[in-house]
Symmetry: C2
Subunit: 284 residues, 2 copies
């Protein structure tokens, strides 16, 4: 199978490595708007060849499958362009983190059936082709959204490929997907950014003690704050309503904990932390 | 050297393993108030023998070094009791996460010089003797507070021991220590607890989608929320003023990010996240 990957960053690059590792791609073609990224992807051997533009990557390549792995804002522009180029045999999947706005934008396109909306629940805080790592997808969950709008053969090809990585395939509606990822992914990123800003603000003018004192807990809590704004601002933007909603709930929880501490209600604080411990049953 | 460890949980138990691994303890005596923990510590071989009470563990044992590894609230009671039992040759160290209140409480004790206030910047979200792991201290930073109040021979014994683990020794005043750990450790725990509560609240009555969807980012962000309230409430309590201060800064940062998103100021949001990325220079 010939596969074209549009966007050779963390996700596109890692997917290239996984597809090759599991013998799922006979020929891998890449296309990447950033010239330095494109050159680096070739140096790293992520793909077999680079296409100079979308028409070459999608049409002249004869690719069976086109994977669109560009940031969420670019995706809104690139996906319809890809739809305009494909035949009714080619299959397209994206790897975007939000779905409702994207699916509404392409709902009426005559090639909509060739598309499978895909969100692999994985990633790291790094970006670009140098961030591509083996094993990023193996054993992880992948959400397919509104698959009833995909042609059965397109859906079958995508599911078979993802299960071979192997990934665990889950079906969700776009609205349900966007709500759930707001609090299992987007909120955690936003709070981590805020935590980093807090510490950087508090350190201003002080001695550089963070590095000396930071243990594993702090490193783990601010890991996501290293993530690229170019990736995350478009995600926050397209999932704005859900994110504002869960952020308000989070602010409410923080204000509640603050009040317990301010009032020296240590029994109430113990109860609250014990309740938070319940997360262990869900995320062991 | 004979070493007594009071409290055989995560920190006391892991320290026993490290001391033995590096050949630093000829004989290890443990004392543990929780009967089940005490039995489990012996089953795991964390210590050579159990002492039934503090006088046996501290005086009749002839221990050269006594390590007090009990929760912060118990520490305020246990440390003076240990001081009352030791000779002017024995050395005592604690491993508590806050220092100002503790050091004020023992400042006037005639045995204060035999004590070295110690805070190893390490841990996990687990607790009890079963949480004890090899390698918890190796390569980590340890803060010694107000060492000018320790006898030179006591300080020398403790520093030599910690450097042999090997740990990186840092000296700080108690007030400075408590302020810095408020934001590199205590705040990260509090926000993680709040994040877990947010998600648990949002999931209430919904489908159990968290487990299905949670990627590594979420797992990393809520890891600290699994920590024991019995460990953390006393820490939050004794560092209350500093923690309220950094929590207010954090709430301010979260409200700022919220306003940027609500106002759709994506340029401002990008600037803020880019600023948060600076944490990468400090915690690589």
């Amino acid at each position: 199978m010939t596969i074209t990957i549009i966007g050779l960053g963390l996700i596109g690059g890692s997917l290239a490595l996984s597809l090759r590792l599991h013998g799922l791609a006979g020929r891998l073609i890449g296309v990447e708007a950033d010239v330095a990224y494109a050159r680096r992807a070739m140096e790293l051997g992520l793909v077999d060849e680079l296409a100079p533009d979308l028409p070459t990557a999608v049409s002249r390549s004869g690719a069976d499958l086109i994977i669109v792995a560009v940031p969420m804002d670019a995706l809104l522009t690139v996906l319809p362009q890809v739809f305009n180029l494909i035949t009714n045999k080619q299959v397209v999947l994206d790897v975007g983190s939000t779905k409702a706005q994207l699916l509404a934008a392409v709902a009426a396109h005559p090639r909509r059936g060739r598309f499978v909306a895909t969100h692999p629940m994985t990633g790291t805080e790094f970006s670009g082709p140098d961030a591509a790592v083996r094993g990023l997808f193996e054993g992880k969950t992948v959400v397919l959204c509104e698959t009833e709008a995909s042609d059965p053969d397109a859906l079958d090809l995508v599911e078979t490929l993802l299960r071979a990585l192997p990934m665990r395939v889950l079906h969700l509606g776009a609205a349900e997907h966007d709500l759930h990822v707001a609090y299992v992914s987007h909120l955690a990123h936003l709070t981590s950014f805020a935590l980093a800003l807090t510490v950087l603000e508090k350190e201003r003018g002080g001695e550089p003690r963070i590095f000396d004192l930071a243990g594993g807990g702090f490193a783990s809590a601010v890991r996501l704050a290293k993530s690229a704004p170019a990736t995350w601002v478009p995600i926050f933007r397209q999932n704005r309503a859900n994110l504002l909603d869960v952020l308000d709930e989070h602010l409410h929880q923080l204000h509640t904990l603050r009040a317990l501490l301010a009032d020296e209600d240590y029994e109430g604080l113990t109860d609250a932390l014990r309740q938070a411990n319940e997360i262990q049953k869900i995320i062991p």
